[in-house]
Subunit: 270 residues, 2 copies
Amino acid sequence: MEEKKFCYKYPHPAVTTDCVVFGFDGRELKVLLIERGVDPYKGCWAFPGGFLNMDENATQGALRELAEETGLKLEHIKEFGTFSDVNRDPRERVISIAFYALAKKSDVKGGDDAAKAQWFALNEVPRLAFDHDYMLRKAMQKLKEDIHFEPIGFDLLGENFTMPELQRLYEAILGVHFDRRNFYKKMLQTGILDEVEKPEDERPAFFGEHCEMRSMDIGALFGGATKETRHSCPTPHLDDDSRRKKGTRFSFNKKRYDQFKEDNNFRLEF
Amino acid sequence: MEEKKFCYKYPHPAVTTDCVVFGFDGRELKVLLIERGVDPYKGCWAFPGGFLNMDENATQGALRELAEETGLKLEHIKEFGTFSDVNRDPRERVISIAFYALAKKSDVKGGDDAAKAQWFALNEVPRLAFDHDYMLRKAMQKLKEDIHFEPIGFDLLGENFTMPELQRLYEAILGVHFDRRNFYKKMLQTGILDEVEKPEDERPAFFGEHCEMRSMDIGALFGGATKETRHSCPTPHLDDDSRRKKGTRFSFNKKRYDQFKEDNNFRLEF
DNA sequence: GCAAAAGTGTTCTTCGTACACCCATGA
DNA sequence: TCATGGGTGTACGAAGAACACTTTTGC
């Protein structure tokens, strides 16, 4: 038997943190799991987490464990509940403080650093260790609630993104479908998105040489007509059009976000 | 030195629960505090709470402590966060799982059972022990958020109540003022309120003997005119009017509430 | 060229908000 | 009788929801 040298007058539970990390691959919401290498639940999948050190608070502990076990170095995690049922861990009385986090797509690749960490689509999550199935449901629930009030969705996407990508993300989280036009409108009117100027070298070459007359678009029903229109217009007002190649990209306005945080008035009704 | 007989291989923090109990006296929101009888913070006020036993989960522990320290026997409390800063308790590393609760006015009196428990109006709360000042702010914040999505306000009122009472409660919690007509409208259209039939013996005597013609109310500008009107009408359709004596009372429709819980679609925008 | 996805405006309805007067009660 | 508080309806504006067609792209 190991030496037990930390003694107390009254029994103390152990305290762990667990972190439910959500990621997004452009289609589906995913969660990051690690395969347990030791008993109990050896070989089972579970959320990254572990015992809290005595010199760190719960948030610090959760971030540390996350980095240790998955390589993910995040800044923002959100506590969503504690799990304290008496027999939730067969070893001893363990109370877990649970967080959820959102990781950008680019960070998802970084997750591979950790040998046993892997992303799972939400509908492919295996049976998890401990009460982590329940924990996942609770995390999803909280995420769904929070997304109405905090523009957290952006943490799941890269530096910039298209509106349909953002819409798919919201649809994946909330499990509903939105009308595209209404989604555009609502997102834009929050003022939290900046339209990204597409760099010159990503534009197709001919956009520097041709233009279309806006007023003629209505009549231009077929490709042939469109081509004709292009050549018939010598005036270059192409900036409006060049931006429209292959999906307008947006970036997330951090300044506006902080303003929302401060005023606590972000709200996205769906 | 006391014997320390509970030993672990690794250090364990102590775990406590704390409960922020809100009450309402018809005017102001109050919180229930207990005066600490022992160090640390002896003589200071703090929220009821204490160390978690090993055979109970956090909710059970919080309810037990609440009953022990204040005499309050509640059923529903809501976890709103954990407090885990390293030095938040001078004795040892203590992590607190915090709940808030709502107590009916009638229960408020029951609080006197416990010698050192006392209700404080929110703006008269003294400096609290530990990090309980911070805890109170967090609890308030959570209550304000939650009240939009759960009809929890009703837990603070008695069996039945008038609309102005309910309005005052919401105003006290949210710290704003509502237009009376709009408040009525919104509350009634949630469908969560049932109008309470006033028992016969609470009606003024003459309501069993007189009636008014609805259509004549417009012309009845003064008391004299009203009295005349009463005597001029022999037809008894008094149910409409009898209910209007001294404040229409409403009760909270539990069935509708459960429905909201299930469908998760209660929402009260202000 | 064909199918799939991106981009765009308008109308209708719903809901929130602002607002004023009468009646009942109790001091 | 007077002051306070309870009870009621309407009109306006903002925002959500429903809806179709054109352009672009990638296969």
